[in-house]
Symmetry: D2
Subunit: 311 residues, 4 copies
């Protein structure tokens, strides 16, 4: 039944599955790998799944721009949770394989630059070929087509491999952000450390439109955490912007900024307000003076008094 099913970007053994399993509720759900981000999300749109976990930022397995694009079009979806996962690769081999035996390695093309330095040092003569996903690379090692695959260490068991080397990552602090997506409903109550995601289309090709968009946030003291341009599919040079802002849609500064965008942009799509992963309340930046809910209420009261001539 759909209410107990979560889809995710498969196949089994990907970082996405690992991220999904960090959610407590995952233990009581049926977890279904899907061939692509669109497929994972369509299962939610169609009612076959209650949620889908997909990568949205800095992925080592691709799928990120697909996620941004899929959330921006079609039937509306909403983000309810985010999960941030540190990224480190393991070199998976069939049991018994030693480093000197490795002539061919595989992995997702996006993984290659992240392990390039390691490869140059430890396997300078190995031949790299790309696989459709890191997990798919593991499967091809299991089938004997390649000698080793870069993937998450957790993928070893799924494909009866063993991790010969672990914690491989050229960049320190590499991490990927995933989001849990569902059909629209009332967002969770604010926690004080929240994030709001929207997609914003710019009206016409007028220079300065992006500046105006940013000023709707800036003038209300709403900080942006991420902004990405995405092509709209109307040809090179036509963009929409995927934006994460600090705060919750029920915070008045956020609400007023969103209404401002709604008024000046041809389309704004609300993608949800949800708790920020891995941020303690005491680490949340203080809101700019004059932008708290209290400041908004005081200003509303003052305006009403002015409109009534009582001051």
């Amino acid at each position: 039944m759909s209410a107990t099913r979560y889809t995710y970007l498969g196949p089994e053994g990907t970082f996405t599955e690992a991220a999904l399993r960090t959610l407590p509720e995952a233990a009581t759900r049926e977890l279904v790998p899907m061939v692509s981000v669109p497929a994972a999300l369509d299962a939610v749109r169609g009612g076959e799944a209650a949620g889908a976990l997909v990568p949205i930022e800095n992925s080592v397995e691709g799928g990120v721009t697909a996620t941004l694009d899929e959330l921006a079009k079609g039937d509306p979806l909403m983000i309810y949770r985010e999960v941030v996962l540190p990224i480190a690769f393991a070199l998976l081999v069939r049991p018994g394989t030693a480093l000197k035996d490795i002539k061919t390695v595989t992995g997702h093309p996006v993984a290659q630059p992240q392990v390039r330095n390691w490869l140059g040092t430890h396997l300078p003569d190995a031949l790299w070929e790309s696989a459709a996903s890191n997990a798919d690379g593991a499967r091809l090692v299991q089938e004997g087509r390649y000698d080793a695959a870069f993937a998450g260490e957790f993928a070893a068991a799924t494909y009866a491999l063993e991790p010969l080397v672990t914690e491989i990552h050229d960049a320190a602090n590499a991490e990927t952000r995933f989001v849990l997506v569902g059909r629209p409903a009332r967002p969770a109550a604010p926690t004080g450390a929240d994030k709001t995601s929207v997609v914003i289309w710019l009206g016409d090709d007028h220079p300065g439109a992006l500046l105006e968009l940013l000023q709707e946030f800036a003038v209300r003291g709403v900080n942006l955490m991420r902004i990405e341009s995405r092509p709209t599919g109307q040809g090179i040079g036509n963009y929409c912007f995927s934006v994460d802002a600090e705060g919750h849609i029920t915070d008045r500064r956020v609400g007023e900024a969103l209404m401002g965008l709604k008024r000046i942009c041809p389309q704004v799509r609300f993608l949800g307000s949800y708790p920020r992963a891995g941020v303690a309340l005491e680490d949340v930046r203080a809101v700019r003076p004059g932008t708290s809910d209290g400041a908004f209420s005081a200003a509303s009261d003052w305006l009403a008094r002015c409109q009534d001539g009582r001051f």
Copy 2:
């Protein structure tokens, strides 16, 4: 009784009196000249008068900065009307005086540059001395102290003089704006061609504070018609800003801009929303797309739907 009394910047025979007499209700009021703008306004604050007419912009008789400063401090007052008067001087003389008889001329110091060219051409040898007001100059001519005074033509009768030359003004299109001020009450309903006046104090001496102030207006598409810095009396370099904006406080774009100012500035003083003088409805600039009351309502509705998860 105070409800029938209007004060104005005197003495009798000033342009301010002429402006006041253009108001239909002036015919049924007791019109009382006062020695200064503060005196005229204090009579309203104290309840001895229902209204005061004072010059606020481009005066030929001074008093403008006094008006801005007086409205900015003390008990609150509100502007209910504005009157714009074209400015032209007459050269007033005692009956029988000819141009060739004039050795000395007087007038308010502010009038001097406005008649300088005329003087250079027609009375190159006349000696100028300043008077405390144009009307006071006329009185001094009546008393015989000077041969001629520059003042409004309407002042001739008051001081038993005659206008020897009229329509003197070096700058074409010279005009002065006056405002009718009263105690706070609910502003008149919007006419569609309205103006809102406020005084805004900047919080600290941080560079960019003025830019932020202007952006509160700009981001809501509210046009500014006038902005003047005024010293706050806390020493050179400390300012407040006197601002006239297009629109009425009940226009949602204006209300939101005012609330934004209220939130970021230590003090904002509302001085009234009132009809623009001499502007036909069809000459009012269309509001920027996305800033009409309808656009604000639509955005509010959308926000409510997003907050409820119904979209």
Copy 3:
């Protein structure tokens, strides 16, 4: 001979004369009082004087807007020095007059609000009449027309009066700024604590033009110290802006900001770069990172390397 003559806003005994006498070179100049700011400046334009001292901000004697307007039009002039004078009034009387004898007081209209509280407390029944200047008021007391005049204490000697009360000022820290104006020449070298004055006309009546003007300064990290709108004489609603900015025209951030204004505005008038009065070098605010002359040079070098493909 003109090179030794300085004019000033008269008559003798005004605060302007007092300010002029604080300049060391005043001791060796012929100091000539003029009837008005335009007259004082025209003497410089015409070559009859080498310089003119006129009030430009927060005057207690008027003349400020006249100064702004006169500097903005006609043959170009330049500001070479500024003088800031603390303002305190003395109550001047004929020798022998006691407080209880005073029935009538006079002074410039602008002085009246600054002594109003004092009058209310100490001379509640005295009748106020305005004079054309504070010094003129003193003269009228000398002539016996009034019992007392508010003026600078230094005016007592000129008019054979004595200061009955001194240090009268309703606002603490009241001060007036004066400028020494001459014909255009190369500005003095920067001192590190400088100020640059310009007058800027806005091109058309497009909303946001003022914002663009301010951004030319802001984007180069140039702080504004004063901005005042002045009517252009083309009718209500047409303005130019009189601006004082921190820094010297030879500072690269200031030069680039001025060029930016020159490019987008129909007219920009440079009024001079000169030392800030009363500001020690150690009290000058540090320039924003990235806006020092060194940062400009480094960026120029980098651009040249990019244009040459050497990087």
Copy 4:
């Protein structure tokens, strides 16, 4: 020899190869497919190739973010040309295969959403599996592993397949932009329809830093054509921005904007000024008044006169 060798994102038969072959000079170069964008660019950095053609925007084969990231780090490279290619897929099969025979299809994961609608209509029961590239998918069809592959029609010959259906694309006007990259050298002279690419790092995590970045362009009237945030590899929330701006680095408005960025940002990397693909001179948007090279020169002259006191 390297001067005659161009690398590209392979394998043979990709859209990238097709784009490369549209360049006249390609006919006289040795064209070498590389396994990844980093590999293609490293061959240029290492001197084994004179240039590399890689996709940079809206790719149907991935590699775009890899391109942005690779250009942003390591030894500097420069963009010399851009090529825009309309994107349409062909369904490639072994000779003799009919639509009804197709049970399995493959292609790059990024291609899947672009052919999804077509698949749903014409091959609703076919099973999709992802390949490492569109060309790799074609190879797997040749090897008999899948029945059909989505790829460019030009890939058919390379893999001895035939295009069963052509011109498949869910989005009308789909196109991909590629860039020809080489080692740094003096950019080509401006053509009047040019584009300048840079990568800009924001200094610290201060809200408004992006706004400041955009204002460096806006205040000089330089239009942005593309802006994309890219993670810096320092963890979620740390970004650099990849930007394409209208104009050439030798245009003064562009040069001044770049210097402004250089001054306020910790790092700016110039990626080249080059002709815009597919834009006729008459279709280039006129520069904003006041931002032409002539306006810059006139402003420089004026500043020099002001600094000399000659005006």
